[in-house]
């Protein structure tokens, strides 16, 4: 895999994302620099998944904007929390990973010998070559995650978003996948990962965004993950306020400026 040219930044401008007019994240402003390795952390309901969904385009902003400096949404590789995949579908590990080559082979081109080699190489990186012929339904949790990472590898994307990639996965797999993430960072790709294990974050992620429906702190991990910040993040409400009034923070801002 050749190192990519400079990956673009992601810019959030006063972004509000949510469901049914209730914001899951409020007024996010900030920049993700090129080639950054950023952990997105926060308590349950903080809006981490929502933010990632907003970046990939699954959710339209309720207000504000996200801009991806020159890159289209198709150039982002996204690993969601694994709910939508039909594990009983009769597809082999090899074929599933091969889908990662979509940008190259599209809907109709065949898999060439060179492509096949790349697929095997990806499987080898995650240690799944012996299982290549198995159906995905027979994989363990950890093996399944590895398979999805192999697919991500093949996508060769400039921006990679990972939503809770280590939930319910064995420690050996976690260690291997963290090494893979480090490699991506080394290759200059921009990586965002929503995580819940603070120790993991402190050990492997140089930058952190602490989210609790709004930005609590954003910067180097050391500065962000302080006891005070973590306490603040826990205080902010988890549930949607069913009787919320229309948010008037925008109007306040306008009044201040005026």
């Amino acid at each position: 895999m050749t190192p990519k040219p400079a990956a673009p930044a992601i810019v959030f401008r006063d972004l509000t994302l949510g469901y049914d007019r209730h914001p899951a994240v409020h007024h996010i402003t900030g920049t993700v620099a090129r080639g950054e390795l950023l952990a997105v952390v926060g308590p349950n309901g903080a809006g981490k998944s929502t933010l990632l969904k907003g970046i990939i385009g699954e959710l339209k902003p309720l207000s504000g904007s996200i801009s991806l400096d020159g890159l289209s949404r198709r150039d982002i590789a996204y690993l969601p929390q694994v709910i939508d995949i039909d594990r009983s579908f009769p597809i082999s590990v090899f074929d599933c990973v091969a889908m990662g080559l979509w940008r190259r082979i599209g809907a109709w081109r065949g898999v060439s010998a060179g492509d096949a080699q790349d697929i095997v190489h990806a499987l080898d990186t995650v240690g799944l070559v012996p299982l290549a012929g198995r159906k995905v339904g027979s994989l363990s949790g950890g093996q399944f995650q590895r398979m999805l990472f192999a697919r991500l590898l093949l996508q060769d994307a400039a921006v990679i978003l990972l939503d809770e990639p280590f939930r319910a996965v064995d420690t050996k797999t976690v260690a291997d996948l963290l090494a893979l993430i480090a490699r991506w960072h080394h290759e200059g790709r921009t990586v965002l990962a929503a995580l819940h294990d603070m120790d993991q974050v402190r050990a492997h992620f140089p930058k952190t965004l602490l989210l609790a429906r709004e930005v609590v702190a954003w910067g180097s991990t050391k500065d962000v993950l302080t006891a005070a910040n973590l306490a603040t993040s826990r205080q902010l409400t988890e549930a949607f306020d069913a009787h919320a009034t229309v948010c008037d923070r925008d109007e306040e801002l306008e009044r201040e400026v005026a």
């Binding site: 939508d84 809907a107 996508q155």
Partner: protein, 288 residues
């Protein structure tokens, strides 16, 4: 023995035509059925079958037992329901199953009412039960054309369709083909039902689409395998059904579908993958 199997087709043109028609359907409907089953949309096939009937009925009301009118009407009705259901599912709180149920029920009730008000209910029964024994040249041509178009289309959308079933979110993230693929697939379902209803009637057309596909689950490991088994099963059932109708004096359409049913039950018992009987046979586990 061979004589019993072959003689009816040698002696009678209508048997040959029935066989050709059934074989064409067996080639095109089961692959679509496989995807319906894999996407857990099996009952949608049945719903679409009911949605088509009013369209065919309206076609009949306007132009009598005209192939063109009934096929067009059926196709239009099926498409309208499928598209409306898809649209509603994507833009309101309703999920796909609820929105489809809503539309096909309305369509069905409308069809029944229109026919009762305007026409005699006699020929509607023939629309329901089909006339595989009376396939004229036009009907055979229609079925053959639909089969060709359907197979070609399926070949083209195969990969996006598989991905759509397996991991739709991934497809959405790498390609704009997600919605079009879904739409084209629905069109294929409707087209095949229209072909099936010419041969077997609307009640049975769904049968030839789904039963072989369901049966294939007990034999094949992957999608292409399932398609192969489903097509083979449908061929065999067509042959069996027509021979039964000939030798045992039973209506042809239901005979074909009941043959499919028998294959299904047998497969459920002894199928290589998950047949019930293997639960009782002790087998050593593999090395790895």
């Amino acid at each position: 023995m061979i004589d019993t199997l072959v003689q009816p087709f040698v002696e009678f043109a209508f048997m040959r035509r029935a066989l050709v028609g059934c074989l064409a359907i067996s080639l095109t409907a089961p692959p679509v059925g496989v995807f319906l089953v894999l996407r857990r949309m099996s009952l949608m096939g049945d719903a679409m079958g009911h949605a088509i009937l009013p369209g065919a009925a309206i076609g009949y009301l306007l132009a009598g037992l005209s192939l063109a009118a009934m096929s067009l009407g059926g196709f239009a009705a099926g498409l309208a329901v499928a598209l409306a259901a898809g649209l509603v599912a994507r833009s309101t709180v309703l999920r796909e199953d609820a929105s489809l149920a809503g539309f096909y029920l309305v369509s069905l009730a409308l069809g029944v009412m229109l026919v009762s008000v305007r026409g005699s209910n006699v020929d509607l029964l023939h629309v329901l039960f089909g006339t595989v024994l009376a396939l004229n040249d036009a009907a055979l041509l229609l079925i053959a054309t639909i089969a060709t178009v359907s197979l070609a289309t399926l070949a083209v959308i195969y990969r996006p369709l598989v991905l759509e079933c397996f991991d739709p979110q991934f497809l959405r993230s790498v390609s704009p083909l997600s919605s079009p693929t879904h739409l084209v697939f629905l069109v294929l379902v409707v087209l095949n039902l229209v072909a099936g209803f010419q041969a077997l009637g609307t009640l049975m057309a769904v049968g030839i689409m789904l039963l072989p596909a369901i049966t294939a689950r007990f034999w094949a490991e992957d999608v292409s395998g399932m398609i192969g088994v489903a097509v083979g099963c449908a061929f065999a059932a067509s042959l069996t059904g027509l021979l039964l109708s000939y030798h045992a004096n039973v209506p042809a359409g239901p005979a074909v579908i009941l043959s499919c049913g028998v294959f299904y039950l047998v497969s459920m018992l002894v199928g290589v993958r998950g047949g019930l009987i293997w639960g009782f046979v002790p087998r050593k586990h593999l090395e790895a």
